[in-house]
């Protein structure tokens, strides 16, 4: 009796009752992981096509050192500036008695809805003299600071007032409290935002091309598109991947163990707001000029070109065609990415283990992979092993699906966490078969998350430029490619309607995102 000797092999008995349903998840997770690994694998295969010594020769050129310096100094300057602007703006909006806070919150996030290359277009089209390092830093900072602002604002509203009060009662002044307590609390959020900024900078092509600033991504694009040198492009891409991974590692190392933490249950007491006093004017002035530069200039220049260009060039048939293609590719990609995100999230949330965590991490990996790298990997794969796929719309859709899989997983996963497996079990104890329990319990609960994920992927794909330029089927134009074609010819008036459509597609959801973030921060979900 006391010896432990199972009568049947343990795993069969443990799994036979519920193995069939997770099998679907396992399959979906495996497909997602394979898709993510596919471009990376063939990137490496392609790069060492002519041997590692060739890769070495390509990478040890002097021009590569210049590119590296260009890329790193840009990434550092922009990230630091975004962090400063983002945190300062977030603090002003969330922690001072500023009037019209909800309006500011929306205005400050809206630049996120303008694709970076459209912002670049906005500036350069009104001042063609803008180019080089400083122009690149300014334009990218103005387009990317909301990536820090959003998480910083959310974290600021979540801080428990008690922490800061405790610091003050322990003899710290307001500045010391801000630096040692408040900043410590929002640090993980700010660092997460900074990571997104850095990754976006490494991946950006369009805006830098417009201001004629050569980073790795610009160079890779040129090597491939003009020189058609896939080996050189893939070799350089490997460096780009390493840079992205370094950024990822840097964030991990900096965020460390000091997590935002709150003792005690219940919702935190919101911190009191600071009266601005004589700082009112500088704060309002600062925020207004930030919004003016980040939002007003691109919007104003778009409106200007729309008004001017409407008389000369408006081939409305082609713009509808481009819109239709954009919608078709983006919707297909959103469907694939969301469908794959469901099993990945289910495994990560409900069957947590070494293998499922690995699948989840792989699904997040494309966040650190520039769209250009994914596109190149797919090109390398299709050119050599599946030529029918090369420059087909399917290849573009697959590229989008991989590129934006992380967005889909983020959306679906958080919904899945709100739909515990326990509820499905209750459904089964109430007489539902596994599939029916999933349909009647879990699916309705994650439906909103799936919808949000779909929308997010759709928008991102609709405004994607770099991978689209590389992969779009010949003769088939999307909003982004047509915009780019006109911009390259300096036909700003013709390009403007395409940019306006892309801004419309992504600005509305960006607006909704801020509404949701602010309402989430205000009403703590009931437990």
């Amino acid at each position: 009796m006391s010896t432990y000797a199972p009568t049947a092999p343990r795993w069969t008995r443990a799994w036979s009752g519920r193995a069939r349903w997770p099998l679907v998840n396992v399959l979906g997770g495996a497909i997602a992981a394979a898709l993510v690994l596919l471009p990376l694998t063939f990137l490496i295969v392609e790069a060492q096509q002519s041997g590692w010594s060739e890769v070495q020769r390509l990478l040890l050129r002097h021009s590569v050192a210049v590119l590296l310096w260009n890329t790193v100094r840009l990434a550092l300057a922009c990230t630091v500036l975004c962090a400063l602007l983002g945190v300062a703006a977030a603090w002003c909006v969330e922690r001072t008695a500023l009037a019209g806070r909800r309006l500011w919150a929306v205005l400050l996030v809206l630049p996120l809805g303008v694709p970076d290359f459209v912002t670049g277009f906005g500036w350069v089209s009104i001042d063609p003299a803008l180019h080089g390092y400083l122009a690149a830093v300014m334009i990218m900072t103005l387009s990317l600071y909301p990536l820090v602002y959003l998480p910083a604002a959310a974290a600021l509203t979540r801080i428990d007032a008690g922490l800061e009060e405790a610091a003050r009662s322990l003899g710290m002044g307001p500045w010391q409290t801000f630096l040692k307590v408040t900043l410590r609390q929002i640090r993980p959020a700010v660092l997460g935002g900074c990571l997104l900024v850095t990754l976006a900078l490494l991946a950006e092509y369009g805006a830098f091309e417009i201001v004629q600033y050569r980073t790795f991504t610009v160079e890779i694009f040129t090597e491939f598109k003009l020189g058609f040198d896939t080996v050189a492009a893939c070799s350089l891409s490997l460096v780009l991947v390493l840079l992205s991974l370094a950024a990822l590692g840097g964030e991990l190392a900096l965020s460390g163990r000091g997590r935002a933490w709150r003792s005690g249950p219940g919702s935190p007491r919101p911190a009191p707001r600071v009266a601005l006093g004589r700082w009112l004017l500088p704060v309002v002035g600062g925020l207004a000029s930030l919004c003016g530069l980040a939002l007003g200039v691109p919007a104003g220049s778009l409106v200007y070109w729309l008004a001017r260009g409407s008389s000369s060039t408006l081939p409305s048939a082609s713009i509808l065609g481009a819109l239709a293609h954009t919608a078709e590719f983006s919707a297909a990609a959103a469907a694939i990415a969301t469908t794959l995100a469901v099993p990945v999230s289910a495994l990560a949330v409900r069957h947590r283990g070494r293998a499922t965590v690995l699948i989840e991490r792989l699904a997040y990996l494309p966040m650190a992979l520039p769209g250009l790298v994914i596109a190149l990997g797919l090109v390398a794969f299709s050119v050599r092993y599946a030529f029918a796929l090369y420059q087909s719309s399917l290849e573009l859709i697959v590229a989008y699906s991989i590129l934006f899989l992380p967005l889909a997983v983020v959306g679906v996963r958080s919904a899945m966490a709100q739909a515990p497996a326990r509820l499905e079990e209750v459904g089964r104890s109430l007489g539902c078969r596994p599939a029916a329990a999933w349909m009647r319990v879990t699916l309705p609960l994650i439906a909103r998350g799936i919808g949000a994920a779909f929308a997010l992927v759709f928008i991102s794909a609709a405004t994607e430029l770099t991978a689209t330029l590389l992969l779009h089927p010949t003769g088939v134009n999307t909003l982004a490619t047509q915009f780019w074609a006109y911009t390259s010819e300096l036909s700003y008036g013709a390009a403007a309607p395409y940019a306006a459509l892309m801004v419309a597609i992504s600005a509305i959801p960006a607006y909704l995102l801020t509404r949701r973030m602010t309402s989430l921060a205000r009403v703590e979900p009931r437990r």
């Binding site: 432990y4 199972p6 443990a14 509820l423 109430l430 539902c432 319990v441 009931r526």
Partner: protein, 379 residues
């Protein structure tokens, strides 16, 4: 015959053996509480009975039908076992009515059946509410109605009251108890709260280290726990050195009657021997010495009122009663005694007292029985 039977059930979880040969019998229509520390495997046991997990060895059967053994596995939806998880686990996207109707066949979902169920648990006016608009007690009742809707042969409740406020808990507990009585459902309730288990259940099964160490009626369990650890788990204890002879225990607190049948089954032992007896705090009588019969020096002789003199060291006052920590001042007495007295008789620290005990008491045997004096329940 038992309605629900678990035989030699084994289950391990992440390499650790959680259930190590559990035997449990639940009589038809009775309420059995499975009592244990958090993490002792209570929930795992319920999950195996419900069919969400499989045992690795052993048998689960319901009314003679095997649900889980080496060859058989009946999936949860075909077990006819209702399950109410912790905090109710209502479907958040469905209204109260839809939650209760969830398990019913489609044509019954809109009919009088649901109305009747809502009426039964007293939540008919809340039918259109969403779960997050309900209080904890109301959620619990909806979860119960939902589980009872399919007229299950057995009902499993996982810590049903632990998420409720203390003020609400007693009332909801009584209501649920009355309802289950009325319905006559065979029920297994899992809890870590001794008081809850003792006050609610017909039978309490104590789960410890993956085994049921004792299964008995509440009073028997409290008075005759199988060992010292269990005695402590069920409430405050005084473990007192005694000389056992002829059904009596001679202790520093006097000669006390022994319960005829010791739980450990060693009543057959004849002849005098020493052992440990379990004296619950409410079995001690405490009298302030100044006005008490004991006086400053107890008179000599056989009829002298038994007891030890000591001082109150500490008094934990609860209103309805008070728990006194008394340090005896007599050699040979335990180091500390715990006595429960009526709230009106709470004594200030330092008060000199005489402590006596009234039987019957239970002798604890075995290697675990070491005289430690008083101990708080180790829950």
């Amino acid at each position: 015959m038992s309605a629900l039977a678990v035989r030699d059930l084994w289950k391990d979880y992440g390499g650790a053996a959680v259930l190590q040969g559990v035997d449990l019998d639940v009589a038809p229509g009775s309420l059995t509480a499975v009592l244990g520390h958090s993490g002792c495997g209570k929930t795992t046991l319920l999950r195996v009975i419900a069919g969400f997990e499989r045992g690795e060895r052993g048998v689960v059967s319901l009314a003679g039908r095997t649900l889980d053994d080496a060859r058989t596995y009946v999936p949860p939806e075909r077990r006819s076992i209702g399950y109410v998880p912790q905090e109710g686990a209502l479907f958040p996207h469905l209204s109260v009515r839809e939650n209760v109707a969830f398990g019913l066949p489609r044509r019954e979902r809109r009919g009088a059946t649901v109305a009747g169920l809502l009426e039964m648990v007293g939540i008919a006016p809340l039918a259109r509410r969403m779960p997050h608009e309900l209080s904890g007690g109301e959620q619990q009742r909806v979860a119960l109605a939902r589980a009872l809707a399919r007229r299950p042969q057995a009902l499993l409740l996982d810590e049903p009251f632990s998420s409720l406020d203390a003020s609400l808990r007693g009332r909801v507990r009584d209501e649920v108890h009355a309802l289950l009585r009325e319905q006559g459902v065979t029920t297994v309730l899992v809890t870590h709260d001794q008081e809850e288990a003792l006050s609610l259940a017909d039978v309490v099964a104590v789960l410890r280290d993956g085994r049921i160490v004792q299964q008995a009626a509440p009073a028997q369990l409290y008075e005759r726990p199988v060992d010292e650890r269990l005695a402590r788990f069920l409430g405050e204890t005084n473990l007192i050195q005694a000389r056992l002879e002829d059904g009596r225990a001679q202790t520093a607190l006097g000669t006390l009657e022994l319960r005829v049948k010791a739980a450990s089954g060693e009543e057959a032992l004849t002849g005098a021997h020493s052992g440990i007896v379990l004296v619950r705090p409410e079995q001690l009588d405490v009298r302030p010495r100044a006005q008490g019969i004991a006086g400053a020096s107890p008179p000599e002789g056989e009829d002298a009122p038994a007891g030890v003199s000591g001082r109150v060291e500490h008094c934990r006052y609860y209103g309805h009663d008070a728990l006194l920590h008394i340090r005896p001042e007599q050699p040979g007495a335990p180091e500390m005694l715990l006595a429960r007295v009526h709230g009106a008789h709470a004594l200030a620290p330092g008060t000199p007292v005489t402590v006596a005990a009234h039987g019957p008491v239970t002798a604890l045997q075995g290697p675990a029985a070491q005289p430690h004096g008083p101990a708080a329940p180790s829950a």
